[in-house]
Amino acid sequence: MIKIAQLSCGTEYSGVQPEIENAAETVGAKMVYPDVNMESIDKAVKEFGFNPNSAQLKLMIARAVELAENNYDADAIFIATCFRCAEAALVRTELRKYVQQHTRLPVVTYSFTERTKAAQLLTRMEALVTIVERKELLARERQVGLTAGLDSGSSTTKAVIMRDNVIIGKYWLPTTDVFSSAETALTKALEEAGVKQEQLEALGTTGYGRFTLGKKFQAKLVQEELTVNSKGAVWLADRQKGEATIIDIGGMDNKAITVRDGIPDNFTMGGICAGASGRFLELTAKRLKVEITELGELADRGNPGKVKMNSYCSIFGIQDLVTSLAAGNTLEDVASAACHSVAEQIYEQQLQEIEVRQPIIQVGGTSLISGLVTAMEHTLGQRPIVPKDSQYIGAVGAALLSSGLLG
């Protein structure tokens, strides 16, 4: 049983503790609380150097110090506090840095509301468990044999066929029905590779539809997208050794993951609203009457400074956009402002929850929108690496990792 140490404030009074425990249980883990006594709380708060007013936050700190000093045995760390609590947000962020500095345990942070449900926590918990249980598999750097990877995302479905560490077939299409989209993607990728489905030695699935597809295709590997995408990203960017930060702006949620030798050690998944997602850029393209594939290039020619747009909500964001167009701004400037709005929100929401490490690898379908990469560059002060085939990270990761399960 994987033990996930819970450092939290407010979970039992927000109705979310059972959700946390359900999510953990579903992935074969158990939430535990490092044992502390009164003296150790005083000492820990002093050592940590931040003395919060709320006693429960002091307790969180003391529990973290127990983990840092190896007095308590846990496999992973889950740090959670109430959304909108400033004191807790400070402690959450600083504690995350502290445990990362003092332990090698994978960490995930979360700020919850009373609406938080187990389903939202599941992928995060599953990733923590995968990192602990499948460390050896995740350390695999080469794909072997003939394998396939299917990534069933909320916006698009991707398939990749790999043979001896080379991509020999790939295909993507918008997700409609999970199964038929995957079937089409796989068939097309197999066609390009010139192989038959029966020849595949293994198949891996990831993304929202991973469980459904895993059953249908009798997949050898069914794994959440945080660990799989990380693997795909470092393989595609040829950054398997050392540290990196992976930014994956998805159709529905965004991921920011820090990795060490290709294995995630901290990650966040957002967000609260679609204003910071690929979906918002789709809406923007539609409103500007351009294809999503043309939006990036259009944005690259614009000046984001001319248009004010920074909304946490995609609906308000589009309102900003309409107002800007009505005020006579060019399509280029508006497209650029939309990309910057997304980039800024990734920076404000996701990148504050992790320690950004070099190099930064931007992946996922949205990384093909060059205007968004430019916006990330402006926000971060350096241009992220966008590897070739960056939209296939999930499928590549699944093909690579599933080959590790070959007998």
Binding site: C9, E12, S14, G15, Q17, S54, A55, C85
Partner: protein, 144 residues
């Protein structure tokens, strides 16, 4: 009389209030019904997301869920209180009273009810302890 104590889970205050012949309104008493109910919706304390909504009676939607959930539990105690004793700087108050923001609001809500309030400092030495017990005794006896 029903005496609200702060921290509402304090052993010392609970014991002294009872010892001097009054009824302490404690958090433990309030939670008892929840945790021994036949329908446990949200273990361990059985404070569900619906309870958090009930907390809106005491604090607005922009207030963190943990504060509203806590107030849903001990707000009813505030509503029943006929007097209150606050230990202003109690060194540790965890769990339900682990959130200082909630505690400050709870004290304000009590004061707004205009019931007699005794405000004390947590004793650090014998003289302060004598003073604390004396004041509690005097306050409680004065309520009769």
């Amino acid at each position: 009389m029903k005496i609200f104590i702060m921290p509402p889970n304090s052993l010392i205050l609970f014991d002294l209030v009872e010892r001097f012949g009054h009824e302490p309104l404690s958090l433990m008493g309030e939670l008892r019904e929840r945790v021994t109910s036949n329908e446990i919706e949200a273990p361990p304390l059985n404070v569900s997301s619906d309870d958090v909504k009930l907390g809106l009676k005491y604090a607005g939607i922009e207030v963190p869920s943990g504060i509203r959930g806590r107030l849903a539990v001990y707000g009813p105690l505030i509503d029943q209180a006929e007097a209150a004793i606050f230990m202003e700087d109690a060194p540790y108050s965890f769990g339900c009273v682990g959130c200082q923001r909630t505690n400050e609001l709870a004290k304000l809500l009590i004061r707004k009810r205009r019931v007699p309030v005794l405000s004390l400092d947590y004793p650090e030495n014998e003289d302060q302890a004598k003073d604390m017990v004396f004041k509690i005794k005097e306050f409680l006896e004065g309520l009769r």
